[in-house]
């Protein structure tokens, strides 16, 4: 050993660091290569991963040790980027050992080393088996989740189509029965019979409203939305009056008090507004106090149409009030009738008319107010 070398080694021993050894046994692979990728020196760690002695790797191209995909990627992405940007980090590749087995690794490379005038590349290679498995697992889970979403969406669409068809088909027999009831009512009939007919009428009315709401909802979910057939020529008041009359005949109590101040024409879909009122009124009749009258107030100002329906009874707690217009929401009262669609559909009708529906509730009254801008 020369004096210089002895001194150098001494210095190393003194400092306690054997850099040569560190290079070889580092917990990652180190590969020093020429600019064209040919290996100058690889450390022991890396050599062990390739299943070959380190000396045998000298002269091979780094890309020779990669899988096919890695080789192609090296030529088309890795090497160009090293040239252009000087480094390339966090590349996931597969090393292939002498048996052909693949070892997933992560590679960082820098191409900025100089040995005299030659630029060299230094690769740092890290084992990534577990990481790769984890990633695989994540990808598979994601694919599965996506597939589930697609299939659930398809099922959900089928269900909604079924509902739409059902609702549609139910209309005929219901209409038929309604006509039959109408005519039975005109026959000579006992008082009890008359009462029966009256009750049947009410049921049919409810059934119709239910079908209307279900169909609207299903159509909405399938992307249809609430369609409007606006008409500014026909008066709105008769439609509203009819709705009130029909519901009062089915629910004699509580009384429904009305106030109409509608300066026609109102540019709206009268049937839909009727449906909206019917849903609000039905809700009030079902949930309101039976001993306090329900107020229906419909008026127009210069700029808007306002329809308000108020009932007495227990106030609606705020957390329920928030969710009232959500479909299928029925509050705490499962006992009360309804699918929980009526208010939702009413809100959708309001929206379709560019208006809104709001609810407020306190000990004095619960009030639903529909406002709609008048045209313009």
């Amino acid at each position: 050993m020369s004096e210089v070398e002895a001194g150098a080694s001494a210095a190393q021993r003194e400092a306690g660091i054997d850099f040569e050894r560190l290079f070889d046994v580092a917990p990652c692979g180190y590969v020093l290569a020429e600019r064209n990728g040919r290996i100058i020196r690889a450390n022991e760690t890396f050599a062990a991963w390739t299943g070959r002695p380190a000396e045998q790797l000298v002269g091979k191209r780094f890309s020779d040790l990669l899988s096919i995909a890695g080789k192609i990627f090296y030529e088309t992405h890795f090497a160009p980027t090293l040239h252009m940007a000087g480094s390339f980090n966090e590349v996931a590749l597969d090393l292939v050992d002498d048996q052909g087995a693949k070892l997933p690794v992560l590679v960082n490379a820098t191409g900025g080393l100089h040995d005299g005038e030659h630029v060299q590349i230094l690769f740092a290679v890290f084992r990534a088996t577990q990481r790769r498995q984890y990633e695989q697992g994540l990808l598979e889970a994601r694919d599965k989740a996506e597939a589930t979403i697609v299939s659930e969406r398809a099922t959900s669409e089928l269900q909604e189509q079924f509902i739409a068809v059902l609702g549609h088909d139910l209309r005929n027999p219901i209409a038929s029965i309604a006509s039959g009831i109408h005519m039975l009512a005109k026959e000579t009939i006992s008082q009890r019979g008359a009462r029966v007919v009256e009750l049947m009428s009410g049921s049919i009315l409810r059934a119709n409203a239910l079908i209307d709401n279900v169909l609207d909802f299903a159509r909405g979910r399938l992307g249809g939305g609430i369609t409007l057939d606006r008409n500014a020529r026909e008066p709105l008041e008769p439609v509203l009056r009819q709705v009130v009359a029909e519901l009062q005949s089915v629910y004699p109590k509580p009384t429904i008090e009305t106030r109409y101040e509608l300066a026609d024409p109102v540019d709206c879909d009268r049937m839909r507004i009727g449906q909206l009122l019917s849903n609000l009124l039905g809700n009030a009749l079902t949930h309101g106090a039976k001993d306090q009258p329900i107020m229906v107030d419909a008026s127009t100002s210069r700029s808007e149409l306002v329809i308000a329906v108020s009932n007495g009874g227990e106030p609606i707690p705020p957390q329920v009030l928030e969710r009232l217009f959500q479909p299928f929401f029925r509050g705490d009262d499962r006992v009360k009738h309804g699918l929980g669609l009526g208010l939702h559909i009413a809100a959708e009708i309001a929206r379709a008319h560019e208006g809104m529906l709001v609810a407020r509730s306190d000990v004095k009254a619960t009030t639903f107010v529909f406002t709609m801008p008048l045209d313009i």
């Binding site: 209409a175 309604a178 006509s179 039959g180 005519m183 057939d229 009819q242 049937m271």
Partner: protein, 124 residues
């Protein structure tokens, strides 16, 4: 334009028997003479045989060779002066789809409104 007759005749076309009875009932109560048909084909047979039907009141969805809407167009072609009132619980027919002198009313019917609609069409 209706012939100035004392009693006006309406042809009711509807495939559901109960609903048809109901319609006839409403119209007879209102003072009209009423003829009935269960589908468009029957309706045309009746129209071909008589010349004093004043108004056609027809459902849209019916079995047979054509729908109520098709019937309305055929009737308008052959009897241009006859007003047509279509009705349906499923479809909403807008004015553009109807022939001239045609109107549409949804089911379920509001009795008074229906009668008024028919009177308006006849006296237009």
């Amino acid at each position: 334009m209706a012939v100035d007759r004392a009693v006006l005749t309406v042809l009711v076309v509807e495939d559901d028997a109960l609903v048809r009875m109901h319609g006839i009932d409403i119209l007879e109560d209102a003072g009209f003479a009423v003829l009935e048909a269960a589908d468009a084909d029957e309706a045309l047979v009746i129209l071909d045989g008589l010349d004093d039907v004043d108004l056609l009141f027809s459902d849209v969805d019916m079995p047979g060779s054509m729908s109520g809407l098709d019937l309305a167009h055929v009737v308008h072609e052959r009897w241009p002066d006859m007003p047509v009132l279509l009705t349906s619980g499923h479809h909403r027919i807008c004015e553009a789809q109807l022939p001239a002198e045609g109107k549409f009313v949804t089911k379920p019917w509001a009795q008074a409104a229906l009668v008024k609609q028919i009177r308006d069409l006849l006296h237009a």
